[in-house]
Symmetry: C2
Subunit: 105 residues, 2 copies
Amino acid sequence: MKTNSEKIVRIAELDIDPAQIDAYLALLTEEIEASVEKEPGVLMLHAVSVKDAVEKVRILEVYANRQAYEVHIQTPHFLKYKTLTAGMVTSLNLVDVDPIVLAAK
Amino acid sequence: MKTNSEKIVRIAELDIDPAQIDAYLALLTEEIEASVEKEPGVLMLHAVSVKDAVEKVRILEVYANRQAYEVHIQTPHFLKYKTLTAGMVTSLNLVDVDPIVLAAK
């Protein structure tokens, strides 16, 4: 069973309505910057889009623990993102993963 | 056209022979740690495995530029990994991506 202190790591796979991609990317960027800046338990949000298919977005997400994730999804910046992008996201697949090694400069 | 100074960002999607997963993970970890420690142009290698499917590995890779990537794939530690894991990797899909925002503590 997952302990309370275990990191939550996930890959979110999203498809976005191409007609709304610019608005979506602005909202996503704002939400990510606010989350990593303001929330001690949001350790990493790395968002990328598939080359030549900008509507296919992938996000590697790392939260300090389950409680940090539960706090995150109730913050004003997350709720703003979730509400305003609801009509832009055509597909959302959340893939729970385990870290093997996370190495960066 | 990609300029020489542009970052290379990629998601590698690998399937590993389940019978060899422990040996594969040890070689991957060694290779990632050596790359990020020794190579100035290897900025990030974040490797995860799908929960309850450890043989499905995903790696978010960031290199400083094309030249850094070309150097990387000729290093002894990369060539060791590539040679010794050749018989362990049953599927390899390299997805070129563009960064939207990469944010971490």
